[in-house]
Symmetry: C2
Subunit: 355 residues, 2 copies
């Protein structure tokens, strides 16, 4: 058996849920799933109940995470049409400001161009803004950030036209970074095999041509982000299935399988699942945080035995190669032998939390 | 009485109608209205019936214009999701390619970012693309054109956030030009005094803050365009009033009134209603085409006595200062003493028409 050591993985895009949505996931179950997937830091999205758009909600989630989290975490703030001042003030406690320019789960949608322009101008330039921005919104977000002279991180790029535009913007010197999700790289609209409801995700699963374009533009992809978005089986089977897939436990095995197949190198994975994420979001240096993996072991993920409360996974039954053996978080063993060995509360806020 | 001589005005944005919509306006009535308003060249928009999205329709309108037009004219082509090759081929016969990225009169709406990207890449770079692009679409259009390394002309900019974004893009060296309409400079949502239906126009009439921002960013405005969009009184009074105002006969008097009030100089008007339009759209040099105006004469426009078939005007009853006395088109008197003195067919296609 080969054992490889990699830096602890960092996921810039995780829907932890918690508080009003603990039945879907909470900080304990989510960070356990993260460790099982090789992640030692997760950055939490703000479209929660309540949404993280002002200090009181941020404090509530911080308190929950402080006692529950098994791995390190950060909070992205959520932009609304009128909270530019508030989120700018809270920026030092956050890992970024999320702008929802297109519809998805939750109600944090920004309608007006003015809101984008105002946040781009007001939020501190050294803290990233992240955009759920598809099609024209993506182009708009890149333009506004560029004209404001500030960096922008485009979330879950999924279409050919989008990744090509991001690549071209990078070539022109735009300060733009982007992430792509496993489900947009490994599933396509005709081949996903998921039942109605379960296949709902935003952005939607792409065409074969979209998937091919993402792989062809690997150089333009800074991060692999899971967009881990747990919903229960009951919710996904309902008349109004919420969009989103769990992803923390299957992301690394999927990418290691791609390495096994010669589509990626280990260095590609390390860059996009650790180094680039840490750089873009200014995560603390943690030399004593690392993971050990077997890059070859053949296995199949069983959601029923997983850590996420979702209880299902779009990649169940898919033959995988490569898995996590051991996770060390700031010098302390956190996961080993297929089990969480650390304790709730071991995880720390990468920004230190509210004093 | 003072008499000033100016170059013949050129309007980059005119809905001539004709063919299937002659009851609204045709090349004869529209070019008569143009001459009465001091315009010697009008550029016709393609969202007609049929729309100008392929060669056969272009030829039909060319034939109609050839026998009817009293002043010079050009044709903007219309972009569809799948005609990039066709319009690129027709580019030499056109003055530009119009992209409708937001809803308005007609059905030429482009939904997908791919269509914008494809047209921006395919249409010859020396012929402008023009965009009806509001809010995020405007930002998207500027980005896509910039990344394609080609010029873009933004039609009828109407909002504060939009003109400020255009101004910032120009400061950053983007190859972008724009036009603003009289109704967005002289009317606001609370002060237009127009009945329901009659006040419908796209983009909508702005707020006082929008209007103020347009005037404050005069340096960023390359052209004053009428967006002359005639509909009959009956249509505007109907349950489904189509958006659009006639504007050819009142634009110059409105701007001369602004000169009279010290808000503009004659040079500002000459640049935005003649010189810049001719430069942006590569219109032929015509030293023997000019207009003579009285910049001070007080009058009130009466639509019933006007040339446009619309028969109404949003600026009826408004006290105006300054009017057209005489128009000379390529050495020949075309308008004098309040009357059209040229003949239908005097007007020429600025691109020469289809051989």
């Amino acid at each position: 058996m080969t054992t490889l050591r990699l830096p602890g993985l960092a996921d810039p895009h995780v829907h932890v849920r918690g508080l009003g949505q603990r039945h879907k996931e909470d900080f304990a179950s989510c960070t356990r799933a993260a460790l099982a997937g090789g992640f030692t830091t997760i950055l939490a999205m703000p479209n929660t109940k309540p949404a993280i758009v002002a200090e009181p909600a941020l404090r509530e989630y911080q308190a929950e995470a402080r006692v529950e989290a098994h791995c390190d975490y950060g909070f992205h703030l959520g932009a609304t049409e009128d909270n530019a001042g508030e989120v700018a003030r809270l920026a030092p406690l956050s890992t970024g400001l999320k702008l929802y320019l297109d519809p998805t789960f939750g109600d944090l949608k920004l309608q007006k161009l003015t809101a984008l322009v105002e946040h781009a101008a007001t939020f501190p330039k050294h803290v990233p803004i992240l955009a759920h921005a598809e099609e024209h919104s993506l182009a708009s977000a890149m333009l506004v950030a560029h004209l404001a002279g500030r960096p922008i991180h485009i979330c879950h790029v999924s279409r050919k036209v989008e990744i090509e535009l991001v690549a071209r913007a990078k070539d022109k010197g735009f300060d733009v970074t982007c992430e792509v999700c496993p489900h947009h790289l490994f599933l396509d609209e005709h081949g996903h095999g998921l039942p109605a409801g379960f296949c709902e995700v935003r952005p939607v699963i792409g065409t074969k041509e979209d998937v091919r374009a993402l792989w062809q533009n690997l150089d333009a992809i800074d991060c692999f982000a899971t967009d881990h978005a747990p919903h229960t089986r009951a919710e996904k089977s309902s008349d109004k299935p919420p969009p989103g897939f769990p992803g923390l436990e299957t992301a690394l095995p999927l990418f290691l399988t791609a390495v096994h197949e010669g589509k990626l190198t280990i260095a590609d994975v390390e860059a996009r699942m650790a180094l680039n994420v840490r750089r873009i979001f200014s995560l603390p240096v943690q030399d004593d945080t690392y993971i050990e993996i077997d890059p070859d072991e053949a296995h199949v993920f069983e959601a029923a035995r997983g850590e996420s409360r979702a209880g299902w996974n779009p990649f169940e039954g898919v033959p995988l190669r490569g898995r996590v053996l051991r996770v060390v978080l700031r010098g302390k063993e956190a996961y080993a032998g297929g089990r969480i060995v650390g304790a709730p509360g071991d995880g720390r806020d990468v920004r230190g939390g509210t004093p």
